[in-house]
Subunit: 335 residues, 2 copies
């Protein structure tokens, strides 16, 4: 049994409790949690927005911790090694997608917080492939959010093979978006940030954006017509999608990582004429996580965090829900 | 003045008339029309479905003919050369898209049948870059439909760099789809044809499809889940898009070339989970047309046509409208 913060019903407060760890499988490692970021999808899971939550729910999937035990078949990690853990807890490792390096697209991939418990806990267990060692030069005390928010916005740059000569837009400059701006700027691209919080403008520029556009101003959006190669949408609310599709250059791509529930009405003509795309992706593969960590270390990219002791998790969640977090909330384990 | 078949009002019959040729620009060639395919977009333009038709309208944009005159700056073509002409009549040739080889995506690109007259005529004039010489080994008497229907379904294979190990679905086995099946099969892919006309099954297999699926059978569509890398939709009516998105493998792409007017309701989750894409494209660039013609010649790919003399164009249009054409209608000029 380990101490953990769990909700027992949809939308309920988290209370400290004891939960049983899943058995340590031959391919699993056990990790002592040191820090854990809070992602908006922790809120969605708490409220059962997606219908996949089982209670008691222990959220948390942006974990930094240290390996304290490993299963019989684990060669890749050693006890004492510091690792990060994100959304996934395992995948089958033998299907075409896993063997092809797309383990995150495996039909059998499992979350760390669906049917098992996540990082708001003393310890967790996870398949070794989903616990990634931190490279030198990366600060463990802030790296947690890279493992969900970070990889979610880094993966689109990799999977689209974004050319550094291109222009990248980022919609929503929050937990994901503020990392997307940093990654895209370090990637060499011109970066345009779309935000409804213009009071963040100076900060967003300091993160690397070359331009900040008021996302609530239809005129400003129209002015962006035919200007961007890739737009990464990190928000989960409906947007004036027609304006963003028009803001794409020929061959441009509107890429969704924000889990907006309302279907996007997509006019075929808006895609056909300019050879455009609407695409999406979830997090990324373990290999892409490795590349992201090295890239972040090389370019001194780090989440901008507000810290809470894990014992104040409910206050932290309320702050996230208020929309005022700048830019990611991080819990420090204090069991 | 040249003789031509023109409509004077939306949906009206074509009548033979005389129309003035646009002046022969320095970069233009004049082409005597020998054959011209009929595309469904000729019908759409006749009915002014897209709001861009000007009357009198002379349709026709799948032309095979011979160069009989050229402007002062034309070096690429010579008088007497046999060429094909498709949807486009010109592009600016100096913007980033034109210089980058994507002349068909130029913001100034113009159609051969919008504001000027098309191939249901004795002669037409067109910018030299949009009149492509036929390679040896390609039968001029059937090649016309390659210049719109053909390039429209060939371009997706090029622009997506489709791997020949992949599985390609084609929705709608008509003028475009019967060419898509041939191209995808010659490309080396496994080809699945989705059709509502199961009486075509044997013919579609002979075109190269490895499997023919009844597009009106929801169970058959569900059975295709997670099986295709690329689906090319050639139809212009709403489909059970959720089934087709589910039929994609991870990293799969639903590619629209059929100009369906009703927006496609696109659930973000359907794209995010499997890293999928909805994309579109119009025809293709002159360089891709050249590649297509050589590919078609090498693989003995040709449109399957039903022939009418151009003087029977109204009968031919009625046959197209009936949905019974197998698979492309071709007019032979008989002025």
């Amino acid at each position: 049994m380990v101490r953990a913060y769990a909700a027992t019903r949809p939308g309920g407060a988290l209370t400290q409790t004891e939960v049983a760890l899943a058995p340590l499988g031959d391919d699993d490692v056990e990790v002592v949690v040191e820090h854990c970021g809070i992602c908006h999808s922790d809120l969605s899971m708490l409220r059962n927005d997606w219908g996949s939550t089982t209670y008691p729910l222990v959220p948390g999937h942006e974990v930094i911790g240290t390996v304290v035990a490993r299963g019989a078949h684990v060669d890749a990690l050693r006890v004492g090694q510091r690792v990060g853990v994100g959304w996934y807890s395992r995948s089958c490792m033998h299907c075409r997608d896993c063997l092809g390096g797309d383990q995150h697209l495996c039909a059998e991939a499992q979350s760390i917080i669906v049917g098992r418990h996540g990082g708001f806990a003393e310890r967790l267990r996870v398949h070794w492939a989903w616990a990634t060692p931190l490279p030198d030069g990366l600060d463990p005390s802030t790296a947690g959010p890279l493992f969900c928010g970070g990889i979610t916005v880094f993966n689109p740059l990799v999977m689209t093979q974004q050319c550094p000569t291109g222009r990248v837009g980022v919609i929503g400059i929050g937990g994901l978006g503020h990392l997307a701006v940093q990654f895209a700027a370090a990637w060499g691209c011109e970066v345009v940030a779309f935000t409804s919080s213009l009071d963040k403008t100076e900060e967003i520029r300091n993160l690397g954006a070359h331009r900040v556009v008021d996302s609530r101003d239809p005129g400003a959006l129209r002015h962006m017509a035919r200007s961007l190669d890739l737009i990464i949408s990190t928000v989960n609310v409906p947007l004036p999608w027609d304006h963003y599709l028009a803001a794409l250059r020929p061959n441009g791509r509107l890429h969704l990582v924000g889990a907006v529930l309302e279907p996007i009405p997509t006019p075929a003509f808006a895609l056909i004429g300019g050879q455009k795309a609407i695409t999406g992706s979830p997090l990324g593969s373990p290999a892409t996580v490795m590349d992201m960590l090295e890239f972040a270390a090389r370019h001194h990219i780090a989440p901008v965090v507000e810290r809470y002791p894990m014992s104040e998790v409910n206050r932290a969640l309320a702050h996230l829900e208020s929309g005022q977090a700048r830019y990611r909330i991080l819990l420090d384990a204090d069991f």
